[in-house]
Amino acid sequence: MTKNVLNYSYYPGCSLHASAKEYDESTQELFKILRIGLQEVPDWLCCGATPAHNVDELLSLSLCAKNLELSEQVEGDLAVACAACFSRLKTAQHKLEENPEKRKQVEYALDAPLTMDKPVKHLLEILAKDYGLEQLSSAMRKSLSGLKVACYYGCLLTRPADVPQLDCAEAPTIMERVIESMGAETVKWSHRLECCGANFTLSRPGVVLQLSNEILASAQRAGADCIMVACPLCHANLDIRQKDIEAASGTRYNLPVLYMTQLLALGAGVSAKKLGFDSMMVSPLPLLQEKGLV
């Protein structure tokens, strides 16, 4: 077995073990072919997501701090796939460093001194910065050229400006740069950073139908073949709810919504069968076949 070029500890988050399993699978496949090691943090727990910080900040911070503590068992910076988990973990680091009072409370809750030094990195950051775009480009086995991709950031990859620090909060390009390095074409579109309706998908699905509809419409206007995401919740709203959105708005979109890692892995030569394309509600296979990618 060849040696890995980089090694990370890995926090997949709840969704990647359920509704977003294809994100997890494609991430594993992509990193394997790029020779980037990923070792899952043992017994990681839910970061608390939006519900926790919505009503109980202390709980939210404590859950994240616990995960950071758990991650210390594995070598390497902490790689996070889910944009929401990434945002929560970064926010927790940010707030606990800033606010000694909150830090004290969390230390009490965990009954342990905080270990906060491990850098938390989103997959995008690892690919674009640590691994490098040139390297990524040279890993290309099958160019995605001809595929017009609308890169969808959503809320939490970039906002608020001083927390994730992944890219410019208002005009990021990191997703575009990453996928372009695999030969894809990206479209300019208006709703890259708009909210999809997030976790209202459970309690108030009407909200999602409206907000995600605008996003799909914008991508369609821009002439995109598909939407690329890096967040399971965005994916759920745009993919799983797409049929409902089409019904509610009376517009036919049929826009496949793909995880960033699915597309990258495809370009890097991973077999389409391993990338979970068949588990998606809006099947991307007709499109990928048309473009000669599968």
Partner: protein, 197 residues
């Protein structure tokens, strides 16, 4: 007594609950007074159409210490935490954090708000973490439908997701459930002692 959201506001040292404002400022770590009502938050808020009070009005009501009006409305529960407002605020008012703080106040006050569905979803979500350590969407959705009385909500979606392997009928519990329970209980303990909000 508050008649409706537009009923007249009488301002005086007694009717302006500035302690509440201070509490929100402390919880959120953001100034409320700094807001000068430019409205940029409401301009970019994706959830504005679903709110009875747009974000800027929430801050304005806070500035005047009108906490009852804020908590009684369901607007705070319609915030998606997308952070657009906080990112673009010219005055560095962290409205997303203020919304978190307000929701916590409403949560603690139990039933202050008209919005129950979002609160229900949140509670089930947190219960899930305490019991299993991780989220299991199947369970969450089922429990939500059960509790909200919307038994058939997304009825058609479930089987589809199951066949796609997206919902797991069975799952494992975390091995460190005791540690997780400890976090929850120690936080409760802190609160009982009055050492945490």
């Amino acid at each position: 007594m508050l008649q409706n959201k537009n009923s007249k506001m009488t301002l005086s040292a007694e009717t302006m609950n500035l302690d509440f404002v201070k509490k929100v400022e402390k919880l959120s770590g953001s100034s409320v007074r700094r807001c000068f009502q430019c409205g940029k938050c409401s301009a970019g808020c994706p959830m504005r159409t679903f709110m009875e009070h747009p974000p800027n009005r929430i801050v304005r009501l806070l500035q005047l210490g009108q906490y009852e009006r804020v908590l009684a409305g369901r607007s705070i529960w319609y915030c998606a935490s997308c952070e657009t407002c906080s990112t673009r605020c010219p005055n560095k008012v962290d409205l997303a954090a203020i919304m978190d703080a307000l929701r916590k106040c409403s949560w603690d006050a139990k039933g202050a708000s008209k919005e129950s569905l979002v609160q229900l979803a949140n509670r089930l979500f947190l219960d899930n973490i305490r019991t299993y350590g991780r989220q299991y969407e199947m369970r969450l959705a089922a429990a939500f439908n059960l509790h909200s009385g919307k038994l058939l909500k997304d009825f058609m979606l479930g089987p589809k997701l199951l066949t796609k392997g997206k919902l797991k009928m069975f799952h494992q519990k975390n091995k460190n459930l005791q540690e997780i329970e400890k976090i929850f209980s120690r936080i409760e303990e802190l609160r009982k002692k009055g050492e945490a909000p």
